[in-house]
Amino acid sequence: MANTDYTADEMMTIAAARMLRDEQVCFVGIGLPSAAANLARLTHAPNIVLIYESGTIGTRPDILPLSIGDGILADSADTVVSVPEMFRYWLQGGRIDVGFLGAAQVDKYGNINTTVIGDYRKPKVRLPGAGGAPEIATSARDILIIIRQTPRAFVERVDFITSVGLLDATTDRRALGIQGNGPAAIVTDLGILKPDPKTRELTLASIHPGITFAQVRDSTGWPLKAIEGLPTTEPPRPDELAALRDLNSRSKRADEKAVT
C-alpha cells in the first residue's frame, strides 16, 4: 500500500505542508517550517502569505533560505519592514493566521523549549534561546510545530518553557491574557499529534504509513495516547514529492554555486 520511495523527513515535510491553506498568513521559522511552508506555496497554496521575522512579508523564494534573513527573502518579498515593525505591527498586531515553529524539545502540552537542557543556571546543553518563538506562540491565531520525534525531544515536561504551548492540564492560556489558540498540531517524522480537546494532552491523531504505534510510543517521553480509529497519513503524492525534491535540489545547487 504505502509508497516507500520517500524518506521520513519527506513525509514529515509534506504532511506539515498540507496543514496550511491557501491565502493564510503564515509566520515561518527557518529550517523545517520554512521548507514545509514553501512546499505548500509551490503546491496547493499558491497565495499563501509567508512572513519571516527578518522583516520580509509575502516572500516567494525559489530556493530555501539557509538563514532567516537571506537575500532571496528580501528580493522576492512584497515588502521588507524593520524587525521592530515586524514584531510590533505584524506579529503582535494579530495579523498572523499560523505561526509555524520548530523546537528542540516539546512536552505533553505542546510547550516548547529551545533554551537549555537541564538547569537554566547550570545547563547540561545550552541551546540557542528564544528568538521570535515566544511571541509567535502567543500572538499567532494557531501554532503548528514540526519536529523529529525522539524520546529526548518529546518529554513529559520541558526543562524550560521558552514558548508556551497549552501550559498544563489546569492553566488556561486565556486566563494569562494570551490571545492565540496555541498548538493546533505537531507534525513529526512518525505522525501528527493534536491536543486532546478535553485534557489538552498531545495525542497521536494520524500515523505515517509504515510506522507502528509502538514505534511512536517508544519515541515519546510520556505515555502517548492515540485517538480512536487512528488514521494513517496519506502517503506523499507524486506531485508533492516532485515539488519537494525540486525545491531541495534547486536549493542545494544554489548553495554549492554560492561558495566563494
Partner: protein, 280 residues
C-alpha cells in the same frame, strides 16, 4: 556630525573598555569587520548586546572581550551551535560570561524604546514563559485604561552602537536597504555610533522614504568594503554560507579557535588583510 575615519581610528576613539556595545545587523549587514577590530584592539569588560550573537560575538566572547551578553537567539544560523558562546556559558572559558536573555520581540521593543528616549517598552510578550523567572528586567504591568497585563522591558541605551550599511555620502549620511533589522533603532538608542559602509559616495541617490541615518546622528563612518563578510550586503555580495559552516570546525576547540583568530585577525592590520589571509 559624523567624522569619516578609518575603522581602527573609530574603534580606538569611540569604544572604551567596560562599554556597553550593540553591534546589530539581522543576518544581513552584520558589522563583522568592526567586531574584528574590537578584538584586535583587545577591548575588555564589554557588555555586548545583540539579538543574534552570530559569529561576530562568538569571536569576541572567545577572545575574552566580553563580561556580559544580552541576546535573544544565540546559534550559528542553519549550522548549529556557537561553540565559543557555549563554552563561555557552560564552562566560563576564557572568562565567565554573565548573560541576560530575551525574546526577539523583547529586544526589538527595547531598542525602539531606547531610540524613542523612553525608559521602557510595553509588549504582549513573555506570558507563560520561564524567562521572567530569571530576569528582573522582564516585568508585567497593568494597562491604565483596560487593566490588561502586559510585559515591560527596560530600554536598551548602549554606550556605542556599531552597524554596517551599504553606502554613506561625504557628510556621513548613511543609506541601507533590504533587511534592515534594528540597526536604525540601535544607532538612535546609543550615545555614540560607528557605521561601516561598503562605499562612500558623492551622492546617495536614495529612493523616497529610504532607510537613512543622517550624518548628524552618527559619530563615525568608515569605508570597509565587504565589511559584513560572512554576512552579506544586499546589492554587493551574497552571504558566505560555506564560511558559516566552516566556522563550526574552526571554533569547535579552544586551540583551533585561538590559532585561527591569532593568525587571521590579531596579526593582520585590517579587514582587507584579514580577507587575504583567511579567505585567500
Amino acid at each position: 556630525m559624523a567624522e569619516l575615519l578609518t575603522l581602527r581610528e573609530a574603534v580606538g576613539k569611540l569604544i572604551r573598555d567596560g562599554d556597553t556595545v550593540a553591534m546589530e545587523g539581522f543576518t544581513h549587514l552584520i558589522p563583522s569587520a568592526a567586531g574584528h577590530e574590537v578584538a584586535r584592539q583587545r577591548k575588555t569588560d564589554l557588555t555586548l548586546i545583540r539579538m543574534t550573537p552570530d559569529l561576530i560575538y562568538d569571536q569576541l566572547i572567545g577572545m575574552g572581550c566580553a563580561r556580559k551578553l544580552i541576546f535573544s537567539w544565540g546559534g550559528n544560523p542553519g549550522v548549529g551551535s556557537l561553540h565559543r558562546l557555549r563554552d563561555a556559558i557552560e564552562n566560563g572559558w576564557p572568562r565567565p560570561l554573565e548573560i541576560e536573555e530575551h525574546s526577539h520581540a523583547g529586544m526589538a521593543n527595547a531598542y525602539t524604546a531606547g531610540a524613542s528616549n523612553l525608559p521602557f517598552a510595553v509588549l504582549r510578550g513573555y506570558r507563560g514563559t520561564d524567562l521572567p523567572n530569571y530576569y528582573p528586567t522582564i516585568k508585567f504591568i497593568d494597562c491604565p485604561f483596560t487593566g490588561e497585563k502586559l510585559a515591560a522591558v527596560p530600554a536598551i541605551r548602549p554606550d556605542v552602537a556599531v552597524i554596517h550599511a551599504q553606502k554613506a555620502d561625504r557628510r556621513g549620511n548613511v543609506l541601507m536597504w533590504g533587511i534592515v533589522g534594528v540597526q536604525k533603532e540601535a544607532v538612535l538608542a546609543a550615545r555614540r555610533s560607528i557605521v561601516t559602509v561598503e562605499e562612500i559616495v558623492d551622492r546617495l541617490d536614495a529612493p523616497p522614504n529610504a532607510v537613512i541615518l543622517p550624518g548628524w546622528v552618527v559619530s563615525a563612518v568608515c569605508e570597509v568594503p565587504r565589511g559584513a563578510h560572512p554576512s552579506y550586503a544586499h546589492g554587493y555580495y551574497a552571504r558566505d554560507n560555506s564560511f558559516y559552516r566552516a566556522w563550526d570546525a574552526i571554533s569547535r576547540t579552544r586551540e583551533g579557535f585561538l590559532d585561527w583568530m591569532n593568525r587571521h585577525v590579531m596579526e593582520t592590520r585590517d579587514f582587507a588583510e584579514f580577507q587575504r589571509s583567511a579567505l585567500g
